[in-house]
């Protein structure tokens, strides 16, 4: 039995009806959603092609989870339209549930059931027969390295184990479209790596995946296309290659020093006009240019202002750089905030 659902397997075994379309697997048009005064989504539009791994990248509060909840029928949008597997879900948000698998940002399986029972129960919700769901549950437990914990209650699982079982539960009915909300947040490095490997395999098998993440490297490594999402808006959508294109030939360096950046900035801008400077913190800035440049002149100007360079780091042309340019958000701050939240939860 195949552990990873293939498009054909999904349609053969669990497809509840009219799906398989030549158009986008998922399409969101001008989604708007407010919670009282707070605008969660301010006109979000994107489409995900069949078999694509699409990433939604953004900080907390960007609207990623709200978008997933609307696409999966767990929330209603104030306006806009949603198409999933070729089905118009605008009027009936539950219409496409048979085609999708959902892995929420918080593991939400049943604490009183064992790992095996949880998977069997989730499969049964999709009408998978008794013997087949047992077989699938055992296979997924094996695949996720949870076979030894199959008979243990979910409540006793570690965070990483809970995350893996929650992903397995999202796959048990072999969906053609998978929604994953922050699948690697708050878990150990080894488990995160296994999950990324699994996502790569799933994409290879033809499963369409929507992944939300705040880990830029994860999005860069896994996704075919990425949407940057900030404050309920998508500010940029493209392939990783196209996103990186404007940075080709760009050279940059991050500097932190002992004095205030505001004190250094006027003098350094005047002294080195061939470079562009941007303040990145109270005592740090980023220097960039279209050609290579050394650190010597920079150090001399900063020292002339009474400061001392504490750290200098070359910035490679990465998605992180593109993200900072497009959103003006420091990824480190985004990551710290997320990890703080994960710890506190």
């Amino acid at each position: 039995m195949s552990l990873i659902p293939s498009s054909s397997a999904a349609s053969a075994s669990d497809d509840p009806g009219p799906a398989a379309t030549a158009g986008p697997a998922v399409e969101a048009r001008d989604l708007r959603k407010s919670f009282g005064e707070i605008i969660a989504l301010a006109g979000v539009s994107f489409e995900i092609r069949p078999g694509e791994l699409f990433g939604l990248l953004g900080p907390n509060g960007a609207g990623k989870t709200t978008t997933i909840r609307i696409l999966t029928g767990l929330s209603r949008c104030d306006s806009g339209s949603v198409w999933v597997a070729g089905i118009d879900c605008s009027s009936n948000p539950r219409a496409a549930l048979g085609h999708i698998g959902v892995v929420p940002d918080e593991s939400n399986l049943y604490p009183e059931l064992t790992g095996f029972e949880n998977l069997c129960f989730c499969a049964s919700l999709y009408g998978v027969g008794r013997s087949e769901r047992r077989e699938r549950a055992n296979s997924l437990l094996e695949m996720f390295g949870l076979a030894d914990a199959a008979g243990r209650r979910f409540a006793g699982y570690s965070r990483g184990m809970k995350r893996k079982l929650t992903i397995a539960a999202g796959l048990i009915h072999q969906p053609g479209i998978l929604f994953l909300d922050e699948p690697t947040t708050g878990i150990d490095v080894g488990s995160a790596r296994e999950i990324r490997q699994l996502l790569t395999e799933l994409r290879g098998s033809g499963t369409t995946i929507l992944l939300t993440t705040h880990y830029i490297e994860e999005a860069e490594r896994l996704c075919d296309r990425i949407a940057f999402m900030v404050a309920g808006r998508i500010v940029k959508v493209d392939t990783v290659r196209n996103l990186l294109e404007p940075l080709q030939g760009l050279h940059a360096m991050d500097l932190s020093f002992s004095c205030a950046a505001d004190a250094v900035l006027p003098a350094i801008t005047l002294a080195l006009p061939e470079l562009t400077f941007a303040k990145t913190g109270p005592t740090s800035l980023r220097a960039s240019a279209t050609g290579p440049f050394g650190i010597g002149a920079l150090v001399r100007v900063i020292e002339a202002q009474g400061g001392e360079v504490l750290e200098a780091r070359r910035v490679r042309s990465s998605l992180e750089e593109v993200f900072v340019r497009e959103t003006s958000i420091r990824p480190e701050a985004m990551k710290r905030e997320k990890e703080r939240r994960a710890r506190s939860s």
């Binding site: 509840p16 929330s75 048979g98 049943y110 059931l113 049964s124 919700l125 009408g127």
Partner: protein, 245 residues
């Protein structure tokens, strides 16, 4: 067929994890026995009183059997987000919630059978109208369960569900005609009595067991059915409005 698999699976899981747990079973056994003892002591008479108190005991057993767990479990699952699993199941919300409440309905009916079983050892049950008793028990269980669902959907914390349930259940025992006939209640309390499912359920069971009741059986059956439909529809509306926001 797939819908039936999901339905039975939800029902089976709830029966296993919530209703057939030792504390709940012991509650189901002890509660009717304790109530029967209380009524018998209060009546000051002997076993000849069993048939007259039986409808009330069965009603209270069903009421507490159905509402003791449902409101808490639904609120608990909503709180820890596992309820989202059910909302993501590819079946109509009506069927999902029917599966979710079926465990409580069955448990309530089984709870109601226990006083009957005990009574069968104490007195003759030959005069009972079993068809009416079954219909009355089932409709009482259904309406009480949907009242529990209504409570569960109205609150967001488990302790609120417990408080709200007790706030409804205990006054209901005194207002539904078990202790005091509805006709003897103060006039201003009677309308309250008429809107309680237990009033109509108790009357139906009284008619089934003793042959006498304050209301026509068909009227009571129709009103209980209407109350069940209304409570269920209102709960589903609340789920759509409050939980799928």
């Amino acid at each position: 067929m797939k819908g039936l698999t999901a339905f039975l699976s939800i029902l089976g899981k709830d029966m296993r994890t919530y209703y057939l747990k030792p504390p709940n079973i012991s509650w189901g056994l002890i509660f009717p026995v304790a109530w029967a003892g209380m009524f018998l002591v209060r009546s000051g008479r002997g076993l000849e009183e069993v048939l007259s108190i039986l409808p009330g005991i069965v009603t209270v057993s069903i009421l507490f059997g159905t509402t003791s767990m449902l409101a808490v479990t639904v609120t608990f699952e909503k709180k820890n987000a596992s309820f989202d699993r059910l909302l993501l199941a590819p079946m109509p919300l009506e069927a999902v919630m029917l599966a979710k409440t079926m465990g409580a309905i069955l448990f309530g009916v089984i709870n109601g059978l226990i006083p009957l079983l005990i009574a069968s050892f104490l007195t003759s049950l030959q005069g009972i109208s079993w068809g009416l008793l079954l219909a009355g028990s089932l409709l009482t269980a259904v309406s009480s369960t949907f009242m529990g669902l209504f409570v569960a959907v109205a609150v967001s914390e488990v302790f609120e569900a417990q408080t709200f349930s007790n706030f409804l259940r205990f006054p209901m025992i005194f207002l539904c005609g078990l202790f005091i006939p509805v006709a003897s209640l103060p006039v201003f309390l009677r309308p309250l009595s008429y809107i309680l499912p237990a009033t109509w359920g108790a009357d139906l069971l009284r008619r089934a067991v003793t042959g006498s009741g304050a209301f026509d059986a068909w009227v009571a059956l129709a009103i209980l059915t209407a109350m069940s439909i209304l409570l269920y529809a209102f709960s589903l509306r609340n789920i759509r409005r409050k939980w799928i926001t």
